[in-house]
Symmetry: C2
């Protein structure tokens, strides 16, 4: 297997930007990505553009990749859109990695974008709902918060876990997000505030839900033999894996675990020749707080039912031995669907290179990113690492 390097990364601010189009959000991310390339980036070096988006908030449903590539001077560069709902960005990176490993392209720009804040509440519900099973979930009245609430109820009851552990995830991720100037909800919240927020879908309250956000993110990947043209300190893709499951919850084997995450991480660990104990830090898919608890267990960071103890011991908090979602996660940083999976890798690029400022992890040799499509119909995991000193 050829090695693939990440040689640049950048993202737009995440948040509510009524005055910015998808083109402008993308251009902001692309500019930061280009500026991050140590030896500079000529647009001519880019062989292809892979874009992840659920649908750009409904604005440009066909060929958004060609539209955005052209907007930043990359017209006539082959482009393609990848879509797996909230994992669109992660799957765009995955397909780009395949293309570089296959020897077809040397350097690929991978991007994710979504513009959700222009939409009405009904329209947002529609754009989230289309990531579940249309016939048996969305049209039957099940919202996305409802789907995750069902998983949360099952998990809390099966392992006899108090609801406060959902709020502990929110409190932790907001504490991290305060340190990230790109974060959408950049404010500290107390455990009390998190517990007493208005109920959305019992047991998930408002502070258990990630926000809908506008945003874009980019990473530049390169084949091993070209990486040195861009930088002396690339971040390497050590392993990757994808997983799948039934789209509809009622068809699944299990509700307190995501088969797609388990399979994706198993494949990524195997390829990297590493295990969960080798991971120094992670960005996991906390679209709802319950999802972070499930991720701890599905990624092998702890045993079944023991996710709460990681929070109690501060293990997954900044300063802990395995900090999770130092960016603020989807919960505080924001969740512009297609951008999320790419932005996780942007954060890991900064962390592994020691460039994450106030939220820098102390150990930062090997990191994991975990991106879930909808309620777990698909998932993708990357294991990234820097060269040994």
């Amino acid at each position: 297997m050829r090695r693939v390097a990440i040689v640049g990364a950048g993202q737009s601010r995440f948040g509510d930007f009524p005055g910015m189009s998808i083109k402008e959000l993308f251009a902001e991310a692309y500019a930061e990505c280009a500026a991050s390339v140590d030896r500079g980036l000529s647009p001519k070096a880019i062989d292809a553009v892979f874009l992840g988006t659920l649908g750009t908030g409904g604005f440009q449903l066909g060929q958004p990749a060609a539209l955005l590539a052209s907007h930043v001077g990359l017209a006539e560069v082959p482009s393609v859109r990848l879509e797996n709902a909230c994992a669109s960005g992660g799957f765009a990176l995955l397909s780009a990695v395949y293309a570089v490993c296959a020897g077809v392209y040397r350097t690929v720009l991978v991007a994710g974008v979504e513009k959700m804040r222009d939409l009405s509440a009904d329209h947002v519900r529609y754009w989230l709902g289309v990531s579940g099973d249309t016939e048996y979930e969305r049209l039957a009245g099940l919202t996305f918060a409802g789907i995750y609430a069902m998983m949360a109820r099952h998990y809390l009851s099966r392992y006899d876990v108090p609801r406060i552990y959902l709020s502990k995830v929110a409190e932790k991720n907001h504490a991290h997000g305060v340190l990230n100037k790109k974060a959408h909800l950049r404010r500290q919240i107390s455990l009390e505030e998190a517990q007493n927020a208005p109920m959305v879908a019992d047991p998930l309250n408002l502070f258990d839900c990630s926000p809908t956000s506008d945003g874009a993110a980019c990473v530049l990947i390169s084949s091993e033999d070209y990486a040195a043209r861009f930088t002396d300190r690339p971040v390497w893709v050590l392993g990757y894996g994808a997983g799948g499951d039934h789209l509809a919850l009622h068809d699944r084997r299990d509700w307190k675990s995501l088969v797609a995450t388990r399979d994706a991480s198993k494949r990524a660990y195997e390829m990297a020749g590493l295990g969960p104990t080798d991971i120094d830090l992670a960005e996991v898919h906390d679209c709802f707080t319950i999802a972070e608890l499930l991720a701890y267990e599905d990624l092998g960071f702890c045993n079944r039912g023991e996710a709460p103890s990681l929070l109690d011991k501060g293990i997954t908090r900044l300063g802990g031995s395995l900090p999770v979602n130092l960016s603020g996660g989807l919960k505080s940083k924001g969740h512009p669907l297609g951008a999320t999976g790419v932005a996780q890798v942007v954060e890991m690029f900064l962390q592994l290179r020691g460039q994450a400022g106030d939220r820098q992890a102390s150990k930062h040799r090997t990191g994991l990113t975990h991106n879930v499509g909808g309620s777990g119909g698909t998932a993708v995991v990357f294991i990234l690492g820097r060269d040994l000193d």
Copy 2:
């Protein structure tokens, strides 16, 4: 570069099926594909599912790949959707080929699906319109027929070509489609009928436009070392290439040629070590009749402005030396957007193996498929061949 084999292929009927869902269309194509595998197909052999669709006619916009995979017993298999408007199917195959070449997967199911006939005329216009530039084309009132009409006017006037050559494409492709029991518009039309059809966007009349269709198509690809588990007579992917361009027509260098097609075919020819004169037959993207004329020239089948002579000489007709669109093409076979690029490869699989019945090409060693996204923002070309006897 590892070799990739096509070891199975099948498609649903294309047409107007109000009683069939996207799941049922997909299942029909999958069943035919599975049945075409000489040594049989166990679902367990499928490592991943790559799906091309613009948006399943708006029905399941998020993670349709997971939904459809699960419907045919492939739940828990990683899946992903690729989208490049009308080239979604071709780009799904391209990304799947990357993944097999990268050594990640051994056997991948590639599918395309679209369900367009449930939509109102306004909704169809919307779903086609989203494949152009939303701001500067769709919202400004330009329809897709309008975009291709502008290209047609430019081509006809620049090379002083009479309008009848558009109708000759339609007449030829319907003559082929009559021989294809899967075709949507399976009827012969005379040159007079083609010329006298009601005008849609001058100079394109109704018979210059492909229909909106329901349909699905599947191909099964495999790495070289696994191909023999499925068949002794695989079809090989000899070369492939993608190209890109500005999404909006007004930004392009040229209107009488698609840069994306030229670049895609150049890359495919180079990889295959072949040129246009080595191609025995082709399936090209005739969404509008003008597009087939442009394709002849962009693919190097003739010089600039000489496409009409290929029609005059019968070269691209069944029995000619380089038959084009023996399936009937998008024009007669139908154009369910995401299915089209995959269905072109299904046709080539049959033709190269000598299984195309009444419409079988006499020479059938090397074939080319050509799939265009929208008005040419993206394009993908495959060169396929069978083993020498």
